[in-house]
């Protein structure tokens, strides 16, 4: 299972990577915004994208839309982990095809639950 973690704060990427490792996902890569993430997604065979929303360069929502618009990437599950709590934005992410939405601050248990839910849907 290859996972790409996208967040502009390195500490948040590190936290997510550690939590993922704890859940048994050791193969993770990092990107600091959508612009860096998109080429990585296109060239690597990632099985899951975990992304923040508010980032400089390309925001998470635009990355999600770009992924869904790309025929090679459109089926990658996307989990959004963000501080944005406006209903309007959650609805927008849902309409753009997000597979899970976690609001910061979050717990290891919530991450585990959402990942299990995503994988249960896929299988």
């Amino acid at each position: 299972m290859k996972i790409l973690v996208v967040d502009d704060f390195s500490t948040m990427r590190r936290i997510i990577k550690n939590l993922l490792r704890d859940l048994g996902f050791n193969n993770t890569s990092e990107a600091d915004d959508g612009l860096t993430a998109l080429p990585m997604l296109k060239s690597g065979d990632f099985d899951l994208l975990v992304t923040d929303w508010n980032m400089p360069g390309m925001q998470g929502i635009d990355l999600l839309k770009a992924v869904r618009a790309d025929e090679n990437l459109q089926n990658i599950p996307v989990l959004m982990v963000t501080a944005e709590q406006k209903k309007e934005q959650i609805v927008e992410a849902a309409q753009a095809g997000v597979n899970g939405y976690i609001v910061k601050p979050f717990t290891a248990l919530i991450l585990k639950e959402k990942l299990e839910k995503i994988f249960a849907r896929i299988n």
Partner: protein, 245 residues
């Protein structure tokens, strides 16, 4: 304004009486003299009053500039505050990184000891059940010996925990810095209110004051009004499930 009491004085009443007498007697020159005298008195008071008003106006204007706090704020305090806040970012970043580092180095040690301990536990249970051969028992003794050596790694874990403890000092330092900036924001607020009062408050444009729906809010802050936001993961889940997720 000139008070009536200042005009109606015994001296002035005497002057007016004199004036009446002069006029009745047809002493024009003397009458003009008295009128001039009265006018001068009145003008002097008027000038004094205007002077007073001018001084008050001058004081009000210069009070604003005299404690040149606005320019100090603009040229010094606000750039300083920016530096201070940048320092807060670097301090919290540093603390988070050193904490994460200590944790990342401790986790494998804990995992390793945990694995070895549970292996030993399994062998020990076999031993107490008399299921262990002599060779296996020798291996177990060796493993126990090795495990005791390995537990010395707990010293490293303890060092990391101390490092994590010390990294929390950022809270004190950044707390003090942020408090200073909060005070500055308060001062700027007071000055702005003063300025608005002097210049006359313009009407607030509702469309500008409303928060922009398209703009990202960032983390919600308790105590501040957030319209149309969810609070916490449960409400996110409820909203998503209402959308058919």
């Amino acid at each position: 304004m000139i008070e009536d009491e200042e005009l109606i004085t015994d001296d002035n009443i005497a002057r007016v009486k004199d004036l009446l007498v002069c006029m009745e007697k047809g002493h024009e020159e003397e009458a003009i003299e008295i009128i001039d005298e009265l006018t001068t008195i009145r003008e002097t008071e008027l000038y004094q009053d205007m002077g007073k008003l001018t001084r008050e106006l001058h004081d009000a204007i210069s009070n604003f500039g005299v404690d040149d706090s606005i320019s100090i704020m603009a040229e010094k305090s606000i750039p300083d505050a920016r530096e201070r806040l940048n320092y807060v970012i670097s301090k919290t970043d540093e603390a988070a990184n050193s904490t994460l580092e200590a944790i990342e180095e401790s986790i494998p040690i804990c995992d390793n000891l945990n694995d070895q301990a549970s292996e030993l536990h399994t062998s020990w249970q076999k031993f107490t059940n008399r299921e262990l051969s002599a060779d296996e028992f020798r291996a177990l003794s060796k493993n126990i010996e090795a495990f005791f050596t390995k537990t010395q790694d707990m010293g490293t874990v303890k060092d990391h925990l101390t490092a994590i403890l010390l990294a929390q000092e950022y809270q004190d330092l950044t707390g003090q810095i942020i408090k200073k900036v909060i005070n500055l924001v308060g001062e700027v607020e007071d000055k702005l209110i003063g300025l608005i009062q002097i210049t006359g408050a313009p009407q607030v444009d509702e469309s500008k004051a409303k928060d922009d729906a398209a703009e990202l809010d960032g983390p919600p802050v308790p105590g501040l009004a957030h319209k149309d936001t969810v609070s916490g993961q449960d409400e996110v889940d409820d909203l998503l499930s209402s959308l058919g997720f």
